[in-house]
Symmetry: C2
Subunit: 453 residues, 2 copies
């Protein structure tokens, strides 16, 4: 089965930021999002979408790589793989075979803060999905016979995705440098030397502790009403016993960062140099009211696509860059990263790209953004929202990711209004406070012959 | 009371490296070091030294800041302070008052890997010292009334030693960058935001788990024979019950490091810029046979004092540097750091100093050291050894630190022979393998107006 890692490299940050930005405007009555809890603590969210006979069924566990014990990086993701290994009731692979037979699709992914499993099927198959998903919520059976070969799969996955990619390795060391104390410094997939030592016992302990209705969120989006979802959920998930009571998710936090840092990877496989710079900033969950929204709009105005200042100035106007942009990993439980990136075009110099990026950041911090820019950025958000309404899975992901990182349904529903309330001064202040006045970490990816920074 | 932190800044690294190098040659019969265990697991080491009527009495606990739980940095050092707070038998301050009254001295220190307490007194007071020290091994009484004010003392200590010192802050971020996964990345004194949250419960839990005869080493050096020490130790420490059985000290290890990193602190309080560069290298405990000895000699030849290549070339010959040297944090449980450092003199440039340091490292990696240099370096070791024989405390510290980080008494006694066996090729190979071929982290301390690296 395929799993998508929300690693911290730019493509994914951007995709995820886009998904977050893609939140829909307040729902009309027939589209009202509803939420309720089962007696065993499972939160259920229903997002009606009647346009087509399709439902998206997602279960989000409030556990990710940042909840792993020291020395056991990768266990959250390893368990994501193992969740397809069967229960007393269903053999390994049976769930996927059923989905395939009815023409559905499925996926799973692990992030720092959550792990999610989803299927997209016709409404008539929702009950079947719930039965399977509820069954493996606490009924997973892990024998040595299934665990050992799957560990080899994960090791191979790491080799293919990270170890063979200079950018992947640089990204890991950049994160490990930006975060000095917080477990966000560890790669979601885990460090190879720790993956290799994972075993059945560790996976089972992690599963027993974290996989339970009282630590999960069920999101159902699509052609189904809340009453039906409640009835089906009670018949299936309702029978799953509570798991252990878990303490608050209080991870070690960052100390003040007083130094600028660089992380340089030189590799013969690199043909075009590039750089990325990251700052530690608050997330939607850790920010003071309004600040995360201002950072979101700052990322959009500074580097969110082809209309952004970075793209217009570096790629279009001066042409020194082949790419340039910004990203904000907004939906995180704890303080997170705001990043900019760029790569030179042709004979242009990486240092010139870096200086131009710095100048654009300084310009916003010093002079702010125009009302027109802000209005257009908000408009782009609205267009993203409209686009998201076309994406049932996108909506379900937004709700799941934000609910799993400390937001409430009310927070999510109030988000568009909070974004509209952001002023040009708020955006300038966010750039001043979090970018201009704070230490940063810059990663350089250089060809072997490159002179370096 | 005074406590000395083995933090990772250069002065201390160097002092400690010097102490390690200062190990004495194999003892003559009357000076034979003996070791035995009490029934409760306490290891006892006796180092006879009859030259003066003085004994050094040290207890080493095999626990340090690298054994702290995530989010609780500083608890090992906080507990070191709390160890002076009294027991059922002795009020707070009584132990220190007795030492003072008899004209003795005392100290305590916390490192990444161990915590130690010692007194120097006349032989007639050894029993008293043992009684007090055995009493507080498991008998410490910590009430809210004594814990809370001592936390303020520690907070003030951190403020004075680290937060008011740009070099101190840079050193912390350098360590946090060099170590991406291992707990050596955390400061021994703890990060302020975590110190502030330490409490009685955490200190007591740490104490109960780690302070016990089966996790401690008693080192007695001085004017006393092994038979007497055994008899006194059995009367005092022998009555202390075993503590919990502790698992092996397996900390999270470093992933491969594939990037060069820099950490730059710019501060108006800095008048002269300086740099230090660190590599991850094996320690005496983690190295293959002979490699740590080669690294020790490499540090000595490259940068151990005024005869070293760095000093001679940068300070004496070209005169571009006001200081330059190297250090190796040899006695650590896990992989550790090898460092070089330098600061420009007068109008010389930090970049020139850095280039000159790099050239000296490359020279050894490419061309090795001369037999004459190696012989003289070994001679300097021997002279350090002779000097150490004059220092009873120095000897006790060498035994304690090495025994607490995985060495045996036999390892320590065989050390001079292993150093003598190191060849010039071994030193060159160590420079090649661990410095030239490996990623490094460079810290820059710059005046506010400084142009940066």
């Amino acid at each position: 089965m395929t799993s998508t890692h929300l690693t911290r490299r730019f493509a994914v940050i951007m995709a995820f930021a886009a998904a977050l930005l893609a939140f829909v405007a307040p729902a009309k009555a027939e589209n009202d999002v509803t939420t309720f809890f089962l007696d065993n603590g499972l939160q259920v969210v229903v997002i009606p979408d009647r346009r087509a006979p399709v439902v998206t069924h997602m279960v989000w566990y409030k556990v990710g790589s940042a909840d792993e014990e020291p020395g056991r990086s990768g266990v959250a993701h390893f368990l994501e793989h193992l969740m397809f290994k069967g229960t007393e009731r269903h053999a390994a692979g049976e769930f996927s075979a059923v989905i395939s037979a009815i023409g559905g699709s499925e996926n799973a992914f692990t992030s720092q803060d959550y792990t999610a499993y989803y299927q997209q099927v016709g409404p008539e198959s929702l009950l079947t999905m719930m039965e399977f998903e509820a069954d493996r919520m606490r009924g997973l059976i892990l024998t040595e016979e299934v665990v050992a070969p799957e560990l080899d799969v994960v090791i191979e996955e790491r080799r293919a995705r990270i170890d063979s990619s200079p950018g992947g390795l640089l990204g890991e060391e950049l994160e490990a440098t930006l975060f000095q104390n917080h477990p966000y410094r560890m790669p979601v997939i885990g460090w190879m030397h720790e993956i290799e030592k994972l075993d059945r016992e560790q996976a089972v302990a992690f599963y027993d502790l974290h996989y339970a209705p009282n630590n999960a969120i069920l999101v159902v989006a699509g052609d189904v009403d809340a009453g039906t979802v409640r009835e089906l959920a009670e018949r299936t998930y309702g029978a799953v016993p509570r798991g252990p009571e878990l303490p608050p998710r209080e991870r070690p936090q960052e100390p003040p960062q007083d130094t600028d840092r660089t992380v340089t990877m030189t590799d013969p496989r690199v043909s075009v140099p590039s750089l990325q710079r990251a700052w530690l900033v608050p997330s939607y969950n850790s920010a003071a009211p309004g600040e995360a929204e201002a950072l979101d709009l700052l990322a959009e105005i500074l580097g969110g696509g082809v209309r952004s200042r970075l793209y217009q100035q570096l790629v279009v106007k001066t042409g020194i860059a082949a790419s340039a942009g910004a990203g904000y990993r907004a939906s995180a439980l704890d303080d997170t990263s705001f990043s900019v990136y760029g790569a030179p075009r042709g004979e242009a110099d990486l240092a010139a790209v870096e200086a131009a990026i710095e100048a654009q950041v300084a310009l916003i911090a010093n002079e702010g953004v125009t009302d027109d820019e802000l209005r257009r950025a908000k408009d782009r958000f609205v267009r993203s929202m409209i686009f998201a309404r076309d994406s049932q899975t996108g909506m379900a992901r937004i709700y799941g990711a934000l609910l799993a990182t400390g937001s409430t349904v009310e927070d999510i529903e109030g988000w568009p209004d909070r974004v509209r309330a952001v002023t040009a001064d708020d955006v300038r202040d966010a750039a001043r406070r979090y970018l201009a006045a704070r230490a940063h970490v810059t990663g350089y990816l250089l060809p072997q012959a490159g002179a370096g920074q």
